[in-house]
Amino acid sequence: MEKTLRLKAKELLESGEVKVVIGYGWNRSKTRTTPVFITDPADVDTLVWNPLCVNNLSLYLTRKYKEIKALGRPAIVAKGCDIRNIVVLITEGQFKREDVFIIGMTCNGTVYKQDLWKGELTPNIMPTKCHNCDVRNPHVTDFVVGEKSTFTPPEVPTGMVYDKVKDLDSKSQSERWAFWVKEFSRCVKCYACRQVCPLCYCERCITEKNMPQWIETSAHPRGNLSWNLTRAMHLVGRCTFCGECERSCPVNIPLNLINQKMIGVVKEAFDFKSGYDEKTHPPMIVFSPDDKENFIK
């Protein structure tokens, strides 16, 4: 697959169809992958593809990355799950479909965190999203690299995150509250979760608005809770469960539980899952007379 990928990248750069290829490369010791930005066709051999390619590179397509935008039209190496984020960005008017060339990678799963890699991809080191993935054959692409995957996701979603959500749902409100207060108490307010999220593209995040100060910036329980709840609410109906926030959180707060819970709620209320069709607008940004609106009592 790497060979096809590199050839395509080369062709795209040489023809001038794109000016930069955003993909994955090795670190110095070839133990971890890291994002690379290839602008010179001579450098395409830097590109790699393997189960360590965890990053959701669609982040670099957002408006925060002015310098990357300035390089010119990008091609992006993307897994199906990453493409879901690109789709959300398009539906939210962040750019147009034709502004980006999507090199879709067929995928058999990645590791949850790169440190877990011991040379082989086994189910226990894969994130829940991979076990239930319906986009192993990437769904919105300009070019596909790799053999067609025959994987069919289980009828009823399975895996650690679903189990834990179910477990929490079965608890009383006060137990759930205690669970989250404890988890959030570790938050160090680094905002890595926000920075790594392709859908947190606001140029001025609400935490940084201080006239008035909506969210206390101190990492005390009150400030942490308001931060984490606010971020969660801002991702309802948008989050694709790519898991980047949880992966990046230096204190291991199980943010995927929140993400999956919200996804379940949106699915139930609107029968909508984000990131599949770039022509359908997400429920939170459309007005429809058919909305039940039974939350207004």
Binding site: S29, L59, R186, Y191, A192, E216, S218, S248, V251
Partner: protein, 335 residues
């Protein structure tokens, strides 16, 4: 000759001896699937098989958030009140030699043009007990910045693993007093220390060259900055886990009429770090912010305070979501 030793089985007694006198005992422990420095109450909580804790122990000297004053607003008055510094007797156990070496720089900064008692009082009451490393990973690079698992810089007491015991070496007066104060727990014997593991020095890095090149400010607009660091997402996680990062922000929080003034960690990796009220930002792009972090480590800080700006612990490399490796930049600047 018999040496001073600490039996691993006696760690619990040491904890009791410290906490019994009202002190806090901080050690690496497992919390939420990773090793972190935390206050512990028993020896069972202490992790034994670890390379380095995810956080540095700086948060016990320089907490992430702390109240430095309280205020009440009246009709035409502001009543500002100082608060007591919370500085309990503290033992940091199981720190690594690299991170202990950060203390000199920390001290220099917090006593620079103003004595920050919130730091110094805590520092006075803290004993740092390091344990030489018998394990390392590919992010460790202490030997590249002229430190090693054998360095004792910044440590009050230096231990080495020796089978079921530790060898004990008191380095500073504070360390000697600590060993004396808990003499009942320490024993003597003749044990053989386990071999230390020395991370390989990164061949293409020359620290002198790095600082030489950084001194010449023409590198400021060098294309190499965006090239190497444009992948940085500005999350600041690197600065939060770094033992030598010490930037903070002062904020007032509270209701309309009363509140507290807090000192909170800040990071030069945030765009708001240098954002002016006018809207202008002298470090508009992420690579410029990253350049600042690198300059701080290898130029401004060592020049100004002669302390180490980077101790080679590799925390920033491990925590970075995009695996931006500071040593790869050091390599580039050694050319």
């Amino acid at each position: 000759m018999a040496d001073k030793i600490l039996k691993k089985a006696d760690l619990g007694k040491l904890i009791e001896s410290v906490t019994g006198k009202g002190g806090r005992f901080v050690a690496p422990t497992t919390d939420s699937r990773q090793i972190v420095f935390k206050k512990v109450k028993s020896a069972e909580e202490i992790a034994t098989d670890y390379i380095l804790a995810r956080n540095s122990f700086k948060e016990f000297l320089f907490p992430q958030t702390e109240v430095v004053a309280e205020f009440t607003l009246g009709k035409d008055t502001v009543d500002m009140r100082g608060v007591e510094v919370h500085a309990p007797q503290t033992v940091i156990f199981g720190a690594r030699p690299c991170e202990a070496a950060s203390l000199k720089g920390m001290h220099a900064l917090f006593t620079w043009d103003f004595i920050d008692e919130f730091y110094t009082k805590r520092e006075d009451n803290t004993v740092v007990v390091t344990v030489g490393c018998t394990k390392a990973d590919d992010a460790c690079f202490c030997t590249t910045v002229n430190l090693s698992p054998a360095s004792t810089e910044g440590a009050d007491v230096y231990l080495r693993e020796a089978g079921e015991s530790y060898t004990v070496e008191a380095i500073t007066d504070k360390g000697k007093k600590f060993v004396e104060a808990h003499a009942a727990v320490f024993g003597s014997g003749s044990v053989k220390a386990d071999p230390l593991v020395m991370p390989e020095k990164i061949a293409n890095i020359d620290l002198a060259k790095v600082s030489e090149r950084l001194k010449d400010k023409t590198h400021y607009d060098d294309k190499v900055w965006p090239k190497l660091t444009r992948k940085c997402i500005g999350c600041g996680a690197c600065t939060f886990v770094c033992p030598t990062c010490r930037c903070f922000d002062i904020v007032d929080e509270g209701t309309a009429f009363e509140g507290e003034r807090r000192k909170n960690w800040d990071s030069c990796q945030y765009d708001t770090f240098t954002l002016h009220a006018s809207g202008h930002n002298p470090r508009e792009h992420q690579h410029q912010r990253w350049r600042n972090r690198f300059m701080c480590k290898f130029n401004f800080f060592p020049e100004k305070f002669s302390g180490k700006g980077c101790v080679g612990c590799g925390r920033c490399v491990r925590v970075c979501p995009v695996r931006l490796d500071i040593t790869e930049v050091m390599e580039e600047f050694s050319k």
